[in-house]
């Protein structure tokens, strides 16, 4: 049986609706289902053009990679942990339906209520109706990439509900009305002076502040009022444990714990892939997660929720939104292992030098580039090519997602779907034709070298010569290797 709800045609955007995601990533008012094969390259070029900012961003992100390196060096069983994590996830995916049913059963026994959402739209409607039924108008939210993926905030705001993102980085980008640029450090693309100016404009603080401690204190006081006034809280889920029906949320700031201990309603949103089988599987992931993400041995708070608080309600929303489709695809299945640590972004030489916003999707970087094309291959066709396939991401990934192999597989799939830009296709056809014939290869090779050696510089380094913008072409030798070798052999 095939469920037609799983969106496979590239006619709708990442949130599964035809509502333009214009407010976040698409050009204003534009439909978001047309091919944008050069999008990353264009945005990246703009990012690179500001040389000082480029290097600042690259160093900032590399710093995270360095922290990950140092802390993982102190873990003697690091590679065994990665293998164990990979295998636990692979096993879980092979019985995922059973584990989710077990999780639901146990969660209900503990007093939680469980809802299922096929896509972003259903997720948003489910969350909204839970809030609306209870007359909730003020919500605090701790970090959930899933709710970002579903564009929950604008959905609720359009319906008159105030949603305050309480993670400091997320609050900053929320106030700036822009998407996060990194899944763990949402505001890493901003300088402290910019944040100082933002707080001055939006929170009424003094002008020209830039001390991070002071700015954090301002945010603390501001958010504290929001926690105390909140009528409901929305959180993500890092791990849902089938064995117990409980789930775990990992944070550093304490925002999830403040949010979930005050208002009488807690809505926890999770993708289907967040389930793990048993409690004893948890430490494998907990020992890898924070070390991979920020270089800490563990986050400040690792909160275990088993049923609602006394006198409060707990609702869990389990979301598919394309994940069952990915599960079906053997070549991409391992991307569902992802625990959203961000290590791949931190190591990616392209992400570091182009920034999260160049990707045009909720989750950027290597993992984003293998997830996004599932829902809208045309809109995100530039992403698998925003990579040199260097493989560093795959080697830092705590759950061993074969990211750089999946990027290559995506390239082939996009090629077959005709979503590769025309110029590449033509060059490839032409190159393929020549290289399939030894005589043509030798002839055009020699011809090319002959011309290159004689054409005036201005002709060679014309405006269509993209290589030649910042690089010299290699000097054309008079003889190719085979000619020199043949001569040496007296042939």
């Amino acid at each position: 049986m095939s469920s037609t709800y799983a969106l496979r045609q590239p006619t709708t955007d990442i949130d599964g609706t035809s509502m333009p995601a214009a407010r976040e990533h698409a050009p204003t008012g534009a439909a978001t289902n047309h091919a944008r094969p050069h999008e990353h390259a264009q945005k990246a070029a703009a990012f690179v053009a500001n040389d000082a900012r480029l290097h600042w961003h690259d160093q900032a992100i590399w710093f995270l990679r360095g922290k990950r390196d140092r802390v993982s060096s102190a873990v003697p069983d690091w590679e065994q942990l990665r293998s164990a994590a990979e295998q636990i996830k692979a096993h879980t995916l092979s019985q995922i339906a059973e584990y989710l049913e077990q999780f639901e059963r146990k969660a209900i026994q503990l007093g939680a209520q469980v809802h299922w959402a096929r896509d972003a739209d259903e997720h948003n409607r489910t969350v909204h109706s839970l809030l609306a039924e209870r007359g909730v108008q003020r919500v605090v939210k701790s970090k959930s990439m899933l709710t970002e993926e579903c564009h929950l905030n604008p959905y609720l705001e359009e319906r008159g509900i105030e949603v305050v993102d309480t993670d400091l980085g997320e609050r900053i980008v929320q106030l700036r009305r822009e998407p996060p640029s990194h899944i763990v450090m949402p505001a890493i693309h901003l300088k402290k002076e910019e944040i100082g100016e933002l707080f001055h404009q939006q929170l009424g603080s003094e002008k020209a502040l830039s001390d991070p401690k002071l700015l954090t204190e301002i945010a603390r006081q501001h958010l504290r009022q929001k926690f105390l006034a909140a009528q409901a809280t929305i959180s993500g889920v890092n791990f849902a444990i089938a064995e117990t029906g409980g789930f775990v949320v990992c944070t550093n700031e304490g925002n999830a714990d403040l949010g979930t201990s005050l208002p009488p309603l807690h809505i926890a949103c999770m993708g289907v892939e967040k389930v793990v089988p048993r409690l004893k599987d948890l430490p494998v992931f907990l020992r890898l997660l924070a070390r991979s993400a920020t270089g800490q041995p563990i986050t400040s708070y690792t909160s275990h929720f088993l049923g609602p608080r006394r006198g409060a309600e707990l609702h869990i929303v389990i979301v598919d939104h394309g994940r069952s489709g990915i599960l079906r695809r053997e070549e991409y299945r391992r991307s569902l292992h992802c625990i959203r640590c961000g290590a791949c972004m931190n190591t990616c030489p392209v992400y570091r030098r182009s920034g999260g916003h160049s990707y045009g999707v909720t989750v950027p970087g290597p993992i984003g580039s293998v997830l996004a094309p599932h829902i809208n291959p045309a809109a995100h066709s530039s992403l698998p090519f925003a990579s040199t396939l260097c493989g560093s991401c795959s080697d830092v990934c705590p759950v061993k997602v074969d990211l750089h192999h999946q990027l290559l597989v995506w390239r082939g799939e996009l090629g077959r779907a005709g979503l590769v830009p025309f110029s590449k296709r033509v060059a490839s056809k032409l190159g393929g034709w020549i290289l399939a014939r030894t005589w043509a290869y030798r002839f055009f090779g020699k011809l090319g070298r002959w011309f290159l050696a004689r054409l005036p510089r201005a002709v060679v380094y014309n405006r269509w010569n993209v290589w030649g913008r910042q690089r010299e072409l290699p000097a054309p030798p008079r003889e190719s290797f085979r000619e020199m070798y043949g001569r040496r052999r007296g042939q």
């Binding site: 396939l389 290559l408 390239r411 082939g412």
Partner: protein, 247 residues
């Protein structure tokens, strides 16, 4: 006597013939019989890299038919070798010919290190920055890499260790990508050059006179930047370096 089929990457054949000659020289000095089948052209990586697998597949089939007869196939390029060993299965159906080829195609350094087990002695009194080409490093595992927490090893370093006077400089980022990435170099030109310039800056700070590596594609990109900026650092393929040093 060890007999190998020599596979020379298309761009090495056309633009860096000396790398090919150095490869032959190094192998012959070890008593290897080298055969260069003239029909060869290209492994198909540029097409596959662009997502045009259908254009690459015939080249993969040609490669197999040209090289299957050899006991070993040796190539002075990590990315071309990885294309055959790891990615031909994306282009062609599984089969005995492909599976056999995957086990017998070698990049030059890994062939010298693992199969011939050479201990090269010589002299190369220069400050050398070793560029760890990504495909060689992370796909062929020529070295441990900076990401994984395993015992360190580096086959290229081992090959260079017998050279008197050589100083391998200490880089701030030992294996950050140079930014070539095949068609990436053109289609994401801005990021590609930013990455290459950062590599060069690292080698400069570390005092390298020569940037050496096992993939001429990376070196072509870095050299292009160095020459445009008129910088004195030069590039050498490890094959050229070893040939010169162990005369």
């Amino acid at each position: 006597m060890v007999e190998v089929g020599l596979f020379i990457p298309c761009y090495v054949d056309q633009f860096y013939p000396r790398v090919g000659l150095s490869t032959v020289e190094l192998l012959e000095r070890q008593g290897v019989k080298v055969d260069f089948p003239q029909e060869q052209t290209c492994c198909g990586q540029p097409m596959a890299n662009s997502g045009c697998f259908a254009d690459a597949a015939p080249l993969a089939r040609n490669f197999l038919s040209i090289f299957s007869r050899y006991r070993y196939v040796v190539c002075p390029s990590g990315s071309c070798t990885s294309m055959v060993r790891n990615h031909y299965r994306n282009l062609l159906p599984d089969g005995p010919e492909l599976n056999e080829m995957r086990g017998k195609v070698y990049e030059l350094c890994e062939f010298l290190h693992d199969v011939l087990k050479v201990q090269l002695r010589g002299r190369f009194p220069h400050r050398v920055g070793l560029h760890q080409s990504c495909h060689g490093l992370r796909e062929l595992r020529l070295g441990a890499g900076s990401e994984r927490r395993i015992d360190g090893f580096d086959k290229i370093r081992d090959l260079l260790s017998g050279l008197e006077g050589i100083e391998l400089v200490q880089l701030a980022r030992p294996d950050d990508c140079c930014g070539f990435g095949g068609t990436f170099a053109v289609y994401e030109e801005a990021v590609s050059c930013a990455m290459g310039k950062d590599r060069i800056a690292d080698h400069e700070s570390a005092g390298a006179e020569i940037i050496a590596g096992a993939d001429m594609s990376c070196l072509m990109h870095l050299s292009g930047l160095l020459q445009r900026q008129k910088k004195p650092i030069r590039v050498m393929h490890v094959a050229e370096l070893l040939e010169e040093a162990t005369v």
